[in-house]
């Protein structure tokens, strides 16, 4: 695993997120985001390590207690920027740009700078749901899977495998994309496609 116990940054080492981001991650990230987005929007380019380095080198702060750093990859565009995620007790508490990632080299756009928001957004779906008499209703996973597979089987029995269309994804891992295509093969239809078509 690319997880390392967090070490205190060496003096003078460029660290991209500063004190702003420590006391209240929500507020701090907001200001960081505004800076990064404004920079990207005004200059037409993403922030550079040089710029962020200057801004925060003097403010480098220690890690959260007993936190770990996980190297991962941004989920927005295909540039493939590195992200260093700081995790404390299973909670993603702070993200840093990956200053030595060979492609992104410490840069982020306004979307990538808020990668953490994908996990903490209150807009995320929280449990399986279906519409009943026009109203959204919660389901357990067991109920949802039982009902969906029963209906799929019924449709297949009545209309054949080509009655299903499967839109897969350019946002899942390569392994999952592969399973999506394999699923269609085992289901028995070539009615499968994803965003690359458009």
């Amino acid at each position: 695993m690319a997880i390392s116990k967090h070490r205190k940054p060496a003096p003078g080492k460029t660290v991209s997120s500063g004190r702003r981001v420590t006391l209240n991650p929500k507020v701090a990230r907001r200001s960081f985001l505004k800076l990064s987005a404004a920079t990207a929007a005004l200059s037409g380019a993403a922030m550079t390590t040089k710029l962020t380095g200057k801004a925060v080198a003097a403010e480098a702060t220690p890690a959260y207690k007993d936190s770990e750093t996980v190297r991962t990859i941004c989920t927005y565009c295909a540039v493939g920027c590195g992200i260093e995620a700081e995790v404390q007790n299973g909670v993603w508490v702070r993200q840093e740009v990956a200053a030595d990632h060979p492609v992104s080299r410490g840069a982020h756009c306004c979307k990538g700078a808020g990668a953490i928001d994908m996990v903490i957004s209150e807009k995320r779906l929280k449990n399986p749901m279906k519409r009943v008499n026009g109203k959204w209703t919660n389901l357990t996973w067991d109920q949802a899977i039982d009902e969906i597979t029963a209906k799929l089987t019924e449709i297949r029995d009545n209309n054949g495998p080509d009655a299903l269309h499967f839109n897969g994804s350019a946002k899942v891992s390569t392994e999952m994309a592969y399973l999506q295509r394999k699923f269609a093969a085992f289901w028995g239809s070539n009615n499968i496609d994803h965003q690359a078509r458009i």
């Binding site: 690319a2 990207a40 037409g44 380019a45 996980v70 190297r71 990859i73 989920t75 927005y76 565009c77 295909a78 493939g80 995620a85 030595d100 990632h101 492609v103 840069a107 756009c109 306004c110 979307k111 990538g112 928001d117 996990v119 807009k123 929280k126 399986p128 749901m129 519409r131 026009g134 996973w141 597979t149 209906k151 449709i155 495998p161 269309h165 897969g168 994804s169 350019a170 946002k171 899942v172 891992s173 392994e175 999952m176 994309a177 592969y178 399973l179 295509r181 394999k182 269609a184 085992f186 028995g188 070539n190 009615n191 499968i192 496609d193 994803h194 965003q195 690359a196 078509r197 458009i198």
Partner: protein, 716 residues
Amino acid sequence: MTNSLNDIRHAKSMIFIGSNATEAHPVSMQHILHAKEVNNAPLIVVDPRFTKLAAKATEYVRIRPGTDCAFMMGLINEIIANGWEDKEFIRTRVAGYEEMVEVAKHYTPEVVENITGIPAKQTRRVADILAKSRPTSLTWCMGGTQHHIGSSITRSFCILQLVLGNMGKSGGGTNIFRGHDNVQGATDMCVLADNLPGYYGLAEGSWKHWCRVWDVDYDSIASRFASKEWMESKGFSLARWYEGVLGEEKIESPSPIKAMIQWGCGSNSNSQYNRVVKALNMLDLLVVIDPFPTIVAAVTKTDNIYLLPSASQYETSGSVTSTSRQIQWRFKVVDPVYDSKDDYEIMSLLVSKLGFADEFYKNIKEVPEDITREINKGTLTIGYNGQTPERIKAHMENWHTFDIDDLQAKGGPCDGDYYGMPWPCWTTEHPGTPILYDISKPVAKGGLPFRNRFGDVTTYVMTGREEGQLAAKGVCNPGSEVQGGYSEFKEVVPGTNWKTDLSQETIKNAINRGMAPFGNARARCVVWNFPDQVPIHREPLHSPRPDLVEKYPTYEDKANHFRVETRYKSEQNPDLVKQYPYVLTTGRQVEHMGGGAETRSSKYLSELQPEMYVEINPRLANDLGIRKGDMVIVESPEGAKITVKAFITPRVDEKTIFLPFHFAGTLMGESYLKDYPEGHAPYVLGDPGNTVTNYGYDIITQIQATKDGLCKVTRA
């Protein structure tokens, strides 16, 4: 991309056509600007709109939407007319050149000016810049592809690079910037209606190959299909699946579509979006699997819809392939939040309940690593076999050891590897291929010739000329046993070829002999299986130039195009422009992504870019009596309408209207807020731009033509 984002640092000039990297791929800009500032490389930006990338250009070329092919053929013609073509490269590594030259002759700078609106002297100047500043890195995105002639346009880009001799060279190449984070990986795994993983196609041999990889009986898989014929026929595509529900067009399929699984895919990226909405409401079963409800949840009013909360990609793990073909491991940051489950678990629940888990997971115990290994075993065509999970993870752990200029590890545990082992990575010792078709390096060290895929000799229908398709004598990678062109490898292991030999002995045999498993051939300028064997201009399906429709008409109508009859000639009406006088084009914003389900659910990004708008040129706005901030109605020839706020800007010319396509959630003053599950609607709603993008699909790929439609604009 044939090269990589980092390799653009070595370009001596750059041309971006239909790409707005500054907004769509912002972090790539550091490499682009490095070439511009350090190499003093001219940056040519060809776009109908003065984009943020155009603001960085040394040469901005304003082009009429949908005329890219004419401009490219014009550049090719001008380069050849001046004797600037790379004669040695063409002699040794290019096929069908003479046939192509004959076609290109038509496109003089003056003809190009009439079609594209680009002044003849500017075409001459750009050709001069490209000839004097080699190599050129050429980039396109959806601005180049989303046309009914998209496949001809993209081929014309490639031919320009062949003529200039810019292929297989550092700083050169055709560098398509892919959109979503893993659109390259998902494409390589062929989540596609016309292919099996690794672009194996749908023929019987391809199915048998994958059945061997899966270790399942071919007959048992075949028995799952409606028939062998349907097993080997293309399915419905994402661009037009809804026609299978609506039944308004002529369909060739064993069944109409009754059910849909929409897994990690917004819907408002589809053109004619109101027809998509109609189809969603006619389904007997609709399953949305996504971290967010997406607009599908709000526009589908029936009780037949289920929402399954999948975890985000930070709550699971697996590999992703970047636009540079680099494979990176996305380590899991935290466990799935709330009661969401990761994609693998949801798939496992579905497959188990449907009763085929034992066969489906036969080789897969450790998830996702065993899936990576199964991909390694079967995806030989594009060399996904050397990137084991262990190697990919080692690259992540040691990413600081890779050089930013050539992406090679200098020392450390990955010494000699190229970052992310860009495919093809032929063996577990192979370093990856950083630049495709580069014959300056041995194949074992990341070099490659052009692939031999279309036979050894061809007679062109256009001229009756016969030509060998293999590379010329003496042209090969260093250390090649055969000094010159050679065919693809087969019968090393009897009954197999390099693509189907699961022992991978064939691949190893080729590499050990200094040769490429797929042969050493020429790149084709003539594609004899396409309707336009050499790319030519055809007027957009909905053209603003009736005078040109007659001279450059579209194709004949096409039956059974991904199961749907598709109109070309019967759709192209030269008089349409009288009622719909403005060209409609679309694009991206840096703050949002795709349909915007994720980014419009981020309060910060929503605050930065909170509102849907339409860009209108000041002159046109004044003529129409539209002032900044007025609400205007944009209407498509199909009769669809949206109401959006006017943004008056000279970024677009007076004949062109621009819409960002990331919005959804309202339509013509009606809000869908109440239709989302309570508390899960995005922060920002807006009329979907794709409601008014027009009918029109590429003749080969069926990509939708969203960049060159027509529309009408009035004050609301």
